[in-house]
Symmetry: D2
Subunit: 308 residues, 4 copies
C-alpha cells in the first residue's frame, strides 16, 4: 500500500495490518468525538510508517463544519487540551500558518492565523492582573516559496532567531488517503512539520532540529490526491479479482505508479463546498488554539480582546 500520499499518522498505522512493534495506539470516545493517541516510540517504527517519532492526537467527529454546538464546544476543549499538554508551561508562542492563501484548499493555515488572539505587542500596556492571564502570542502566515522567493523554513528560522519564542505552533492543510477524512479529522502532533507534507507539497521541514524550539503541528486533511483515488480504485479491483496477482506484485506496482504520474499528478480531490468548509474548520481550530494559549481568559474577555 506504499505510494499513497497521506499526512495522517492514523492512516499510516491503519495501512499496516496487525500490530506494529514500537507503536502505541489508544482510543477514547466521548460525546460523539473519537480521540486516538498514537505514540511512535522507536526509530524502526518511524521508518516503517514514514512518520517521525512522537505523539499524535487525532480527533474525529463526522463533518467538522456541521457538528452541533455541544460537539463543537467539546472539540474546542479537546484541541485546546491536546495542544496545551505539548506546549512549554511558559514563554511566548509563535503561531505559523502554512500554505498558499490564494489556493482554497491550501489556505487553512492562513485562515487559522487570521483568527488568532495575538497579544505579544499588548503585554507591556496591560494592567498587572491581565498580564498574568495573557500569554504572549505572535502569528504569521509566511506564504509559499513560489510567491515569496523565500523558503518558509528560512523565513521561520529568521523569525525564531529574532523573537526567541518558547515554541512554535504550525498549522497546515493536510492530504489524506481516504476521501472521507477531508474536514472530518484533526491531527495534533509534537513532531513538527515534515519536509514534503501538506497540500502544496513544497515545504522544507519545520522541526525542533531546524528551528531550535519545539514545533507542534496542527492540521486537517483538505484534499486527497486524484492519483490516490485512481490507484485505490484499481488496487481494490486487483485485490478482489486477482489481477496481476494483486496490488502488491511488482507488475501491479508499476501500473499503479503510471496512474499516479502524468495528468493526475497535480490534481486534487475536494468536496464541492471546500471554500465554505475551510472557513468553518478555521473557526474551529482558531477557537481551540486561542483556548489552548489563553486558558484563564473566559469567553467574554476573549471576545472583548478580539474586537477592540
Amino acid at each position: 500500500m506504499r505510494g499513497f500520499r497521506t499526512d495522517l499518522a492514523m492512516e499510516r498505522v491503519g495501512q499496516e495490518n496487525g500490530r506494529l512493534d514500537g507503536v502505541d495506539v489508544s482510543t477514547h470516545e466521548m460525546g460523539g468525538v473519537k480521540r486516538t493517541r498514537i505514540v511512535i516510540e522507536t526509530a524502526r517504527a518511524a521508518r516503517l510508517l514514514g512518520r517521525p517519532r512522537g505523539e499524535y492526537i487525532t480527533l474525529e467527529c463526522g463533518q467538522l463544519a456541521h457538528c452541533g454546538p455541544d460537539t463543537r464546544q467539546l472539540l474546542i476543549r479537546l484541541i485546546a487540551q491536546a495542544v496545551r499538554v505539548m506546549l512549554p508551561r511558559e514563554g511566548e508562542i509563535l503561531l505559523v500558518g502554512l500554505g498558499n492563501r490564494n489556493v482554497t484548499a491550501d489556505a487553512l493555515g492562513t485562515r487559522v492565523v487570521e483568527r488568532a488572539l495575538v497579544t505579544r505587542h499588548l503585554k507591556e500596556t496591560l494592567a498587572g492582573e491581565m498580564q498574568g492571564k495573557l500569554r504572549g502570542v505572535c502569528a504569521v502566515a509566511p506564504g509559499v516559496l513560489g510567491l515569496t522567493g523565500i523558503e518558509t523554513a528560512e523565513m521561520c528560522r529568521g523569525l525564531v532567531e529574532r523573537i526567541r519564542p518558547a515554541a512554535v505552533i504550525a498549522v497546515d492543510a493536510l492530504a489524506a488517503f481516504e476521501s472521507q477524512r477531508i474536514c472530518t479529522t484533526i491531527q495534533i502532533a509534537d513532531t513538527g512539520i515534515e519536509p514534503g507534507s501538506g497540500v502544496g507539497n513544497h515545504r522544507l521541514g519545520l522541526t525542533e532540529d531546524t528551528l531550535g524550539v519545539k514545533v507542534i503541528a496542527v492540521g486537517v486533511p483538505m484534499v486527497v490526491y486524484a492519483s490516490t483515488i485512481a490507484r485505490d480504485a484499481m488496487a481494490r479491483l486487483m485485490e478482489e479479482y486477482g489481477v496481476l496477482d494483486g496490488p502488491s506484485s511488482p507488475a501491479a506496482d508499476r501500473l499503479l505508479s503510471q496512474v499516479a504520474e502524468g495528468v493526475l499528478g497535480n490534481m486534487v480531490v475536494t468536496p464541492r463546498e471546500i471554500d465554505e468548509l475551510v472557513l468553518s474548520v478555521a473557526d474551529l481550530l482558531g477557537e481551540g488554539l486561542n483556548l489552548a494559549l489563553h486558558p484563564s481568559l473566559d469567553a467574554e474577555i476573549l471576545h472583548t480582546f478580539l474586537h477592540s
Copy 2:
C-alpha cells in the same frame, strides 16, 4: 462508457467509437488552436449522445491560462466569431453568469459577467455615432437555488419577460470526463443549457423552450467528478485484464456504479491552482464576449468604456 459525467459534446462523440449517423464533425487547426464544429442533426443522434440537437463549437489550445499573447488574441477572436454567428443581428443581449460565486470551480459564470462591458443603461445618454456602435448589453449573476431559494431558470424567465432581450448568453463552469480537459477547452453552443449540467449539478434548463428567446451557452470544464476518475481507472483495468468480461458487462456496470456513489459522489477533481485558473479563463471569455457583442469598438474605446 455510459455513466461518466461530461458536459462536452466533443467527449460524448469521442466516447462513441466510429461515426454516428446524424452527427457532423469537422476540425480545423490554426496558430496552435484546434477548432472543432459538431452539429447534432437528428433527434436520434441527440438521444444517443445525450446532448440536444444543435451546433457546438469547441476551441482547444493546451492550458488556456498560460498560452502566449498571440494565441490568446487568436482565441479571443475565435470566441467572438463563434458567438457572433449564433447571435441575432440586432437587439439587446442578456448575459447570464451561472453557478455559485462562493465555490471556486463553480464561479466561472459569475467572474465572466463581472468582466462584461454592460451598456444597456448607457444607450440613451450616448452621442449618435457611439449609439450605432454599441449593442445594448445587460448582465446578471442570479446565484444558485440553495442560496436564493429561487430557481435560476425562474429568475431568468422573469428578467427575460421584463427586459425582452433578443437573445441570452449563458456562461457556466462545466464538468468533463477527462481531467486534461480542465481549463483547456471552450465550448460554445446554440442549444442553451441542459437541466442537470454544470459543476453544481442543480440547474433547471435555460433553453429557447423555457425562455422564449435563443440561448447561447458558453462554458469551460473546471472539474472532473472524482467518481469519474475512479470509474475510469477501474474500467481501463477491466478492459485490459478481462476482469468481469470487461467494463461493458452488467456485473462490471454494477461495480462501477457503486464507486460513483457513496463518499465520492460529492467530490470533484481540480488542479491545485484552480483559484488562479478560474480568473484567467474568465478574463479570456470576458474579452471574447465583449468583442462578440461590440465588434466595431476597438480596444482603446472598449478600455475607456470599462474604466469611466
Copy 3:
C-alpha cells in the same frame, strides 16, 4: 441645515429644533440599547423632513461591532421584534440586499443576504411539523445599475411579479450626517427605500407604490459624505463667529454648496477598519432578520439548517 445628506429619519428630526407637528417621537432605553420610535404622521411633516410618512425604529448602542455578548443578543431580539411587527402575519418574504458588493462600504445589503436562512425551496420537502415552523424566505442581491445595466427596481419588480411574496425586506448601507453614527445605529422603517438614498446614491425607489407589496427597509449608516464633514465644519465656524451672518444666510448657503461640489462630491468618510465593521454588522443584522422570519425555530435548529 438643509443640504446635508442623511438617510436617518432621526437625524432629520434632530436637525429641526423644537417639536414638529405631525411627528411622534418616543424613546426607550434598556440594557445599553436606546430605542427610538419616530412616526411621521402627516404629509406636511414628511415634506419638511424630506422622509416619507411611516414608522421608523432606531436602535443605538455604541459601536455595533464591539458590543458585548449580552447587548448583542438584546439587539438581535430588538431587530427581530421591530421587523416582525411590520411584516404581514403569513406569506413568503423576499429579502433584497441592495448595493454594490465590490464597494466595501456599500456591500452591507449583499453581506446580510448571504447570511439569510433561505427556505422557500425547502418547504415542499420538509416534514409536516417543520413546515409549520418555517416561513418561506427567498433572497437576492440584484447588484447595481452600473454593473448589470438593469435598474434594481426594475429587477425587483420582475421578481415580485413572478414570486408574489407577501412583503419585501430591503437591506441597505446608509449615509449619515454625523460621523459617530457610522456602524452605531440601526434604522428599520415600514416606508421602503426612497429614490436617491443609500451610499451608492443611484437607486430608484423600492416602495409599496412601485412593487405592489409592503417594503420594510433595514439599514445602518456606513459612510458620511466628505462634503458633509467639510460643510459642517464651516457651518459651525460661521455660527460661532457670525461669518456671513451665520450658516443660514443665502451667501453662506452658496459658499457651503461650493464645498459640496467639485472633488469632494464623490468622496466618502469611513472608519479605517470599515472592511471588518461591515462583516460584523452584517452578522448582527443577519441574525436579527433570521429570528424575525423564523421566530419559532430555536438557535440549535437554525444552526442545523444553515449548515446542512
Copy 4:
C-alpha cells in the same frame, strides 16, 4: 498649515510659500504625465518640511486608474526608470508590501507584492543566458502589528539579516493633504519609510539606518484624513473672513486641533470606488517595478514567467 497630515514631499513643499533654501525642485512634462523631482539637501530643510533628506520623484497624471493605454505605458516606464536609478546595479532585491491586507485603502502594498515577478528561488535552475537577464527578487507582505504581534520593522530586519539583499523596495499606501491627490500621484523616494507614515499610521521606520541597506519607498495616496478635510474647510473660511485673525493664530490653531481629535481621528476619506482603484493602481505599480527589476526581459518573456 502645520498639523495637516501628508506623506507627500510635494505637498509639504507646496505648503511653504516661496522658495526654501536647501530644496531643489524641477518639473518636466511629457505625454500627459508631470514628473517632479524634489531634492531635500540640508538637515534644516528636512526639519522644516518634516521629511528626511533625499530625492523624491513624483509622477502625476489625472486618475491613474483611468488613463489611456499610451499614458499607462509611459507611466510604467517612468516608474521603472525612477526606481532603477535609485537601485544598486547588482544584487538581490527584497520587495516589502506594507499595510493591512484586510483594510481596502491600506492594502496597496500587499497587492503590489502579489503582482511581483519573484525570481530568487528560480535562479539556480535557469539556463545561463536567462540567469544573466533575471535579477534575484523576493517579496513579502509582513502584515501589521495588530495582526501579527510583531513590528513590521522587526520582521524586515530579521529577513534582511538572513537574506542579505542589496536593497529593499517598500511599497505603501499614503495619506495626502488634498483629496484630489488620491490615486493620481506616485511618489518614489530613496529615503525609506518614515516612522508614522502611511494610512495605518502605525509603522516604525524602514530606513537604511534601521535595516542596514538602502530602502526605496514607493507609494500612492489612498486616503485623506477626515480631520484634514474639516480643518482645511475651516482654515479657508478663517483666512477669507479673518475669523480669529486667520488660521495661523494660536486661537485658531487650538480650534483646528479640536476638530482633528475626537470622532474624526480614526476616519478616512476615500473615493467611493476605492476597492477597484486599489487593484488598478497595484497593477500599474507592479508592472513598473517588474520592469525596473528585470529591464532586459521583454514583455513576452515576463508573461511566460509569471504564468508557468
